[in-house]
Symmetry: C2
Subunit: 145 residues, 2 copies
Amino acid sequence: MNTQRAAVEILREKCVEHGLKLTPQRIAIYEAICHTTDHPSADKIFKKIKGKFPSMSFDTVNRTLLTFSAIGLLKVVEGHGDPKRFDPNLKQHHHFRCIRCNTIIDVYSRYYDSVKIPQDIQSRFTVLGKRVVLEGICKQCRKKS
Amino acid sequence: MNTQRAAVEILREKCVEHGLKLTPQRIAIYEAICHTTDHPSADKIFKKIKGKFPSMSFDTVNRTLLTFSAIGLLKVVEGHGDPKRFDPNLKQHHHFRCIRCNTIIDVYSRYYDSVKIPQDIQSRFTVLGKRVVLEGICKQCRKKS
DNA sequence: TTATTATATAGGATTAATTCTTAATTGCAA
DNA sequence: TTGCAATTAAGAATTAATCCTATATAATAA
Ligand SMILES: [Mn+2]
Ligand SMILES: [Mn+2]
Ligand SMILES: [Zn+2]
Ligand SMILES: [Zn+2]
């Protein structure tokens, strides 16, 4: 998904860079996720691979995806799985999320409020909400490190 | 959080509007979440309430928060709980999420890419990433209804 | 090529969190 | 006040992630 180079080559480079072994499991998992565009869960990837690689365990898939995220081969994106996070603030606003402590902080910005929804997106979806989501390190977590 | 009217009044209106009973549990839960700004999980709210309302069960808190979200008293926001969702696409892009089926679809937009991070936000946080998140109903779900 | 060894894996156990089930309670309309 | 549909409490069941540990193996050097 990074470039059109073979997924294995991208994976090999990253593994060398981080001193990780290039295992058949890692190759299968990386190839599987690179063929998705639907932001799958670990379980989805596991089920997808199981047919071709029957000895694969769920734990390996889960652990490996987290490893990939740690070395920058993929990203963990906003999901609406559990535990759900609730927001009583119905005013238009935006969010900053700390990738260390997972705190979500409200961000108020007229500039962000005024960001438009392009016409082609309007025609593809029924858009009901819009928000700019920033991520990074919060003040407290910056202090700690 | 909606206005400065007493939370109970806002709640009462919504309950009448949707034919729901105004119970002490619902009042306690709504007041509790209205006093938060940290986007808590159901468990957080439960623990917060338990002291003042010892007979409250976790199930009631969880069920009630989902009810509140269904009648528009609050929103469920993007979280990074489980199950995690993985994205092998490292190119700058944005997301549309369907509130019915939870599908996350990639959105490419030069315009969204060019949205800036305001100076005052830069000084408050170390911003590492930015993305516009749209939500609404996807094509397939629109067909169904 | 073979031996060595630190790393990684499989599979099952454990933990964490939500959702379901059911019997008792209660808000509220008549 | 009464009757009853909606709501709740409590615990069971489910779902999903993480941990544990014995075995297997990729990478390296002899
Ligand atoms: Mn918020
Ligand atoms: Mn994406
Ligand atoms: Zn933080
Ligand atoms: Zn949908």
